[in-house]
């Protein structure tokens, strides 16, 4: 850690991991509800538990991004953070807002929460991933603005690197496209059209800039490869991301009442969306192979490589699998989508956050370069357990999705939704068991922060 103010990243990372645990817990609950329909019913119905699962995911990823920015920007800018106290204040504001929102989900019926928070004044609730009460959304805007101000001022007064600028651009885009979540017309088609401006342009647009810059930062640090080379790659990758991803939004405009030319445009451009992810995988391995040093934090390098590979598999391959309109006609809104969603979110955004935490947390906790060997071994186990589980979860959901698509949509005698669900429950059981393995991985991950923390750092092997 080179600058004092980088320390504000630590609470952000801690909050991220705590919310990660909540996310997985609720993931297991809804996974069980898939097979034991009345589990926790009517106390915690599925929609509430799922909302907690997805919302805690989004919020912890945002915590992670903010922590990453607070850690990375001072170091890149070679200056102290503009205002550490503002960062700390915003941490508490965001944490309290998130905590109250989740408590609201769990303690009050959703319609009660809507009345309590005055949803009728500016209705924005009840749309997938944007279920937060309007007041929470406003809170997110305030936190994002304060955060951007803080980061922006730091970048302005210090050294401007490509990593810095791309990160800043991604974060500005994140804030700007979130504003579309306040647009909620009665017209369902318009509602959905611009809902995707937040959701798609986040995860297949500006978030990838954030992902790219964090990955570039960590690779610069752990491989010691010349910054020029890495920054050049970063530009090419994010250029390809936006070139394919912006019109690629069209793959969501096939069946929601939008003109039918989107079936062509969406298919053509989103078919190319795997390219930047492929380049990212090639890039990451290339840089590690060309490394000029053997950084003692081996597990951070492992996470970085894992991110590149899993993002390619999850977002690239599994996305391509059902992105062409003639295929999507049958798979739209089935477990295939769920399969893709799980691996893409884990591979791209969960893993990039864990990469950053793996690199930065030891330094934030007073290590000079890396955690002890025992800690790293444990974390490596966590890496493999979580990664393999998510691959299996994806495969099981894909199996469920293929069967569902066939029985409900393709077969000459299509069966009703619920009848099909019962016939594919085996896959849901397998998914749930694998989810327990994932939880084991997560437990080991958390243990790696505590077990062996007094051990010495591994020797630097050069």
């Amino acid at each position: 850690m080179k600058y004092q103010s980088q320390a504000v990243a630590k609470p952000y990372f801690v909050a991220a991991i705590v919310l990660f645990v909540a996310q997985i817990t609720f993931g297991l609950i809804i996974g069980l509800q898939y097979v034991i329909g009345d589990f926790l019913f009517p106390e915690i119905p599925f929609n509430v538990a799922r909302m907690v699962h997805t919302n805690t995911l989004i919020v912890w990823l945002l915590f992670g991004f903010m922590g990453a920015a607070y850690y990375l920007v001072p170091e890149e800018s070679e200056t102290e953070l503009h205002s550490p106290w503002l960062a700390k204040l915003m941490f508490w504001v965001f944490l309290v807002a998130a905590g109250l929102t989740v408590a609201g989900y769990l303690l009050v019926p959703y319609s009660g929460l809507a009345k309590l928070t005055g949803n009728s004044l500016l209705p924005t609730m009840g749309r997938e991933f944007l279920e937060q009460p309007t007041i929470t959304k406003l809170g997110i805007v305030v936190v994002a603005l304060a955060f951007l101000f803080n980061i922006g001022m730091t970048v302005l007064k210090g050294r401007k690197t490509v990593v810095n600028l791309v990160l800043l651009l991604g974060l500005v885009g994140l804030a700007v496209f979130f504003l579309f979540s306040f647009y909620n017309p009665t017209n369902v088609v318009l509602d959905k059209y611009f809902w995707w401006w937040t959701v798609h342009l986040w995860v297949e647009g500006v978030w990838e800039l954030i992902l790219g810059s964090i990955l570039a930062f960590v690779l610069i640090k752990v491989t010691g490869v010349d910054r020029e080379v890495i920054e050049k790659w970063l530009y090419v990758i994010i250029a390809m991301t936006l070139i394919t991803g912006i019109i690629g939004t069209g793959h969501h405009f096939y069946w929601i009442g939008t003109p039918e030319y989107w079936q062509w445009l969406g298919s053509i451009f989103s078919a190319l969306e795997p390219i930047p992810f492929f380049m990212m995988a090639v890039f990451a391995f290339n840089m590690v192979n060309k490394r000029r040093r053997n950084h003692p934090n081996r597990v951070a390098t492992l996470w970085a490589l894992g991110t590149a590979v899993m993002a390619f598999l999850g977002a690239g391959v599994w996305g391509f699998l059902h992105t062409l309109a003639p295929v999507n006609y049958y798979t739209h809104g089935t477990q295939i989508t769920a399969a893709h969603g799980h691996m893409a979110f884990f591979g791209a955004y969960v893993m990039i956050n864990l990469t950053m935490i793996s690199y930065a947390m030891p330094l934030l906790r007073g290590r000079t370069l890396a955690n002890s060997s025992r800690q790293q071994t444990l974390e490596t186990w966590a890496f493999w357990l979580m990664t393999i589980s998510i691959v299996l979860i994806t495969l099981f959901l894909t199996g469920a999705g293929i069967l569902q698509t066939y029985m409900q949509r393709v077969s000459v005698t299509p069966q009703p939704f619920m009848a099909v669900q019962e016939q594919i429950s085996l896959f849901y059981w397998l998914r749930e068991y694998t989810g327990l393995v994932f939880l084991l991985g997560l437990t080991l991950y958390i243990a790696s922060f505590f077990v062996g923390r007094k051990d010495p750092e591994p020797a630097v092997a050069n």
Partner: protein, 148 residues
């Protein structure tokens, strides 16, 4: 002299390419907005039933229906698609209302069950009209069959 591949050029391509494709996206959005009136069943929204449908959408959102169901394929995959439920139930708003009303408070042993929301008659009508409105959006012949 032979500079293979410069950072400045990569940067220019990033900025140029992004702006280019974003402008293209805006142009396509502009065209889409012009086409929507022919497809999105907005006539229903400006009819006498308009306020009822709007109320229905509000109820749809404030009870987080999307947390279990899909609507035109988007949402959670825990419960059936509702974009075409009106046609699946034989073009009957009554059937939709009867179903919503009949959900058991304590659920069904071992099975997935929709919660009992205790809607009044007016609310039931609003929801049913909302679902009827959605079913009449031109969704390019999706879903493939009535099962959704």
């Amino acid at each position: 002299m032979a500079q293979a591949f410069t950072k400045a050029m990569a940067r220019n391509i990033f900025y140029g390419g992004s702006v280019f494709f974003f402008l293209l996206f805006l142009a396509l959005t502009f065209d889409s907005m012009g086409q929507l009136p022919m497809r999105d069943n907005r006539a229903a929204l400006s009819s006498d039933l308009g306020p009822t449908i709007a109320h229905g959408k509000m109820l749809w959102e404030e009870n987080n229906c999307i947390g279990c169901h899909t609507l035109l394929g988007e949402g959670a995959y825990f419960a059936p698609e509702l974009g075409n439920v009106y046609t699946r139930y034989g073009n009957s708003t009554e059937a939709i209302k009867v179903f919503i009303k009949s959900r058991p408070v304590q659920g069904v042993e071992n099975r997935r069950s929709m919660p009992q929301f205790n809607f009044n008659e007016e609310e039931l009508e609003a929801l049913a009209q909302f679902l009827k409105y959605v079913s009449e959006i031109n969704s390019a012949k999706w879903p493939p069959n009535v099962q959704g």
